[in-house]
């Protein structure tokens, strides 16, 4: 397949993604995380059919880099709100804490597992453990949205699920900035890790402020696209050239816009619909990037990481059921629902694969991909059961074509 044909294929996927968010299709259509596109990419990729080979996939690295960074911006811009509703600060703190906890559990398990099982050098073991923790720390808000809209859920547990899922992005974005700064190659050699992290996030904050000032007092949609695209691409390119984390930079930029821009709602309304059109081609590319031909110890480590994640999520759920009223009596199901992961975890794994190719990156990407599939299998069902037991949804599945009862939780 040549590059143009592949590009057209990606555009078709983006078209499909835009229809899915455009209101023409039934909400809740397809799988919650878009895992089917990941599988499609894998089947078309070099591991199975080789319709899309590795060099061809690699020619799309700029698209990939821009795509994952754009997702970072979208997540940053929409971080503080679910729909028009503000995410309460305690829910943000809870979401971040849960992510950190799960990440720590996975990292520890992978670190000790890798120390015993794998022949990897110490530095690579640490990189693997840290990045594995990051990709397992996210809960995709699409899964929550999918369940909530499909079953018309409404209530404090649905809100808690939506809020903690959204809040989980912060930990992943920040910790990936630290890992990228720690792994940073030739650039910024004279700086400490902390200073590199500051550069990575500071660049995003500066560009976020610049965009805010340029958007000015009045909102002009056409001009805003130029400013947002220009600043985000400049941030992406600059961070990538410095071997830092572009996702973290654009996330910081988006979060700055969400906090300081008077047009935060306009910007959110502008960029959020672009998420699916960007995400679906990325999932396909990620699928094509996945390499399953890894040494057995690394495959075992993937299993160890997933086991640790499952255990950590369920334990978190049990802990929440003891401490939080909305989660009372549904802890295990709620914990299971947080297994759903998607955009950010895969974006981090992809960015890591592009910047630091090798077996460690391949393991992380495989972990993220299998995590998406596992989350798809367990997450939405668990959330549906939790919401049903909490009395926040009707248990019967709505008829085909039925209108959602809640506005979109974009």
């Amino acid at each position: 397949m040549n590059a143009i044909a592949f590009l057209l294929g990606l555009l078709v996927l983006a078209y499909l993604g835009s229809i899915l968010v455009g209101g023409r299709a039934i909400r809740g259509f397809g799988l919650a995380s878009g895992a089917e596109y990941l599988v499609l990419g894998f089947v078309l990729g070099p591991q199975v059919l080789s319709v899309v080979n590795r060099p061809l996939v690699e020619t799309f690295q700029p698209v990939l880099l821009v795509g994952v960074s754009w997702l970072g911006l979208v997540l940053g811009v929409s971080y503080l709100r679910v729909g028009q509703r503000r995410v309460p600060v305690p829910h943000i703190a809870l979401g971040v804490a849960l992510s950190a906890l799960v990440s720590a559990c996975v990292s520890v398990a992978v670190f000790f597992g890798a120390s015993y099982f794998s022949p990897l050098p110490r530095v690579e073991v640490i990189a693997l453990a840290a990045t594995a923790g990051i990709v397992c720390s996210e809960t995709t808000r699409h899964s929550v949205r999918w369940v909530v809209e499909r079953y018309g859920a409404k209530g404090p547990l649905a809100d808690l699920a939506a809020d903690t899922a959204r809040a989980s992005a912060l930990f992943a974005a920040l910790s990936f900035a630290v890992v990228s700064a720690w792994l940073s190659g030739a650039a910024l050699q004279g700086m400490s890790v902390f200073e590199r992290v500051l550069v990575s996030l500071g660049l995003g904050v500066v560009l976020g402020f610049t965009a805010t000032l340029l958007l000015g007092r009045e909102f002009r949609r056409d001009e805003s696209w130029g400013i947002l695209l220009g600043t985000s691409l400049l941030g992406t390119g600059a961070a990538a050239r410095l071997n830092l984390s572009p996702i973290s930079t654009t996330f910081a930029m988006g979060l700055t816009l969400a906090i300081v821009s008077p047009h935060r709602l306009d910007i959110k309304a502008m960029v959020t619909p672009t998420e699916k059109p960007v995400l679906l081609p990325l999932l396909l590319l990620a699928g094509a990037y996945v390499n399953v031909k890894l040494p057995m110890p690394l495959l075992v480590l993937v299993g160890v990481a997933l086991g640790a994640k499952l255990l950590a999520r369920v334990s978190c759920g049990a802990l929440l059921s003891l401490t939080l009223k909305p989660a009372r009596g549904v802890g295990l199901e709620f914990g299971g629902s947080m297994l759903s992961c998607g955009a950010l975890g895969l974006a981090v794994a992809l960015a890591f694969s592009v910047r630091h190719p090798g077996v460690v990156a391949d393991t992380v990407l495989l972990l993220a991909s299998v995590g998406v599939l596992l989350g798809e299998w367990l997450g939405p069902g668990a959330l549906r059961r939790a919401l049903a037991r909490a009395g926040e949804i009707k248990t019967e599945i709505p008829a085909e074509g039925a209108q959602p009862t809640l506005p979109s939780q974009v």
């Binding site: 880099l65 560009l207 000032l213 695209l229």
Partner: protein
């Protein structure tokens, strides 16, 4: 490209824009100093962001002294490009060619969609005279000027008179090529409406086709003059005929398809335009179809055979607001400043004479066509700009005549660089003076109301 006019921007706004421009240059300057060696794709991503942001800001700042946005985009590219600050290097500029492909396809589609049959009928007489006079008078005069200064050019040394006449004719063709992109860029910014805008658009789009035919004709005539073994062959015309007819046929089919899509679906036009711009341009090149002509025909069909023209134009305007900035800023980065510095005396002579003969030809054709006074005065103003098409012709000529091709192309690049910078300024000035630019404010609305506190 943002619209013309709008609420008056305060000094504070301009100061913020200037500071942001400094931040933009500063960020990239710092990064390029820290990491001078880079992987190609990272340079491309950074360059697109930089050119987009710096181009937009520079255009806003130059607006204060009445210059068109296009000049701002070009200037941002020139300053950031490989010859001044070296923030965007040569390789990156080449890597950005897909953006050019996309922009040119959008420009041609929009150009075709702007050409309404009734408008064309209203300017048909003027258009016919202008095409005839501009294509013959200017070509002949510029060939004469080139012949006169040929002895100062290194690449014509040692040529006999007949060969010089051949080369001069080729320069004449180059001189009658215009810039559809510059014309569309200025019209998109100013939203100009009136006789000068209508005539300029129609003439420049038509001149595209005329120039392609003229080039084939002049190549046929020049070959036996320049090379002793060459002979006149009609084969070029057969090939050209097939290409032109094929392009129009493909364009009409595409236009009908687009009109049906716009009518029945009408959504996600950004992605459709991207698919057309990237996918079809390459396909057209593969099947030897002139993509500019095909897209022009497609836009023309959408506007004149359906009621979907405004929808198509609106989508192109939205997409183009980003793509065109990068396109023109890349063109600025592409300008070969050292070459211009070296060849400027000859380039200035050629550009000045071209401008003079274009004005004279415009006056003659307007008089013959009995055009309205405003067109007699300003009809020539859009014809000075030159850009990608002229450079494309110079590449064709250089390939056809390798013995002097490189020198010829270098001179063409220098002359086009001057016309590219001066032409848009003249055109905007003329539109302003003719009172055709839109003074209405673009759509501005207050921000969405904040959500109530929970």
């Amino acid at each position: 490209m943002s619209g013309h006019g709008g609420p008056k921007k305060t000094i504070a706004t301009r100061a913020i824009q200037a500071a942001s421009l400094l931040v933009t240059f500063g960020v990239l300057y710092g990064v390029t100093r820290v990491t001078p060696e880079l992987e190609t794709h990272l340079g491309t991503v950074t360059a697109v962001g930089f050119l987009l942001l710096a181009g937009t800001l520079m255009s806003e700042l130059l607006e204060t002294i009445g210059l068109p946005h296009l000049s701002g985009y070009l200037l941002a590219g020139i300053i950031g490009g490989p010859h001044i600050l070296h923030l965007v290097d040569h390789h990156t500029v080449t890597e950005l060619s897909p953006v050019n492909t996309l922009a040119l396809s959008l420009i041609a589609l929009a150009g075709g969609a702007e050409l309404r049959l009734e408008t064309l009928r209203s300017v048909a007489r003027g258009l016919a005279w202008a095409t005839l006079i501009q294509s013959t008078f200017v070509l002949a005069c510029m060939a004469g000027v080139f012949l006169a200064i040929a002895r100062f050019l290194p690449f014509t040394q040692g040529m006999n008179l007949t060969a010089l006449i051949g080369v001069s004719l080729l320069w004449g063709v180059l001189a009658v090529s215009r810039s559809p992109s510059a014309c569309m860029g200025i019209l998109a910014q100013t939203r100009a409406k009136g006789p000068v805008a209508t005539f300029s658009l129609a003439f420049i789009m038509l001149s595209d086709v005329v120039v392609v035919i003229l080039l084939a004709l002049m190549l046929m005539l020049a070959r036996p003059l320049i090379t002793s073994s060459g002979s006149i062959s009609l084969e070029d015309f057969t090939v050209l005929g097939h290409e032109l007819l094929g392009s129009i046929a493909v364009g009409v089919t595409l236009g009908l398809g687009l009109a049906i899509y716009l009518r029945l679906v009408g959504h996600q036009l950004l992605l459709v335009l991207l698919a057309i711009g990237f996918g079809l341009s390459d396909t057209f090149a593969y099947i030897h179809v002139d993509s500019l002509l095909a897209f022009l025909a497609a836009g023309f069909v959408v506007t004149n055979l359906s009621d979907q023209g405004p929808k198509l134009l609106h989508s192109i305007e939205q997409t183009g607001s980003v793509v065109f900035v990068v396109f023109f800023a890349t063109a600025g980065a592409h300008l070969d400043i050292p070459l211009l510095r070296k060849l400027w005396p000859v380039a200035v002579t050629l550009c000045a004479s071209r401008a003079l003969f274009t004005v004279v030809a415009g006056r003659i054709s307007s008089r013959l066509a009995e055009d309205p006074a405003i067109l007699k005065r300003w009809g020539w103003s859009s014809l000075i700009s030159q850009a990608g098409l002229a450079l494309g012709l110079s590449v064709v000529i250089a390939k056809a005549f390798p013995t002097f091709g490189d020198g010829f192309r270098s001179l063409a690049i220098a002359a086009v660089a001057l016309n590219e910078m001066i032409g848009p300024i003249l055109f905007k000035f003329a539109l302003d003076r003719a009172g055709e630019t839109d003074r209405h404010e673009p759509e501005v609305r207050p921000s969405l109301p904040p959500a109530p506190a929970e």
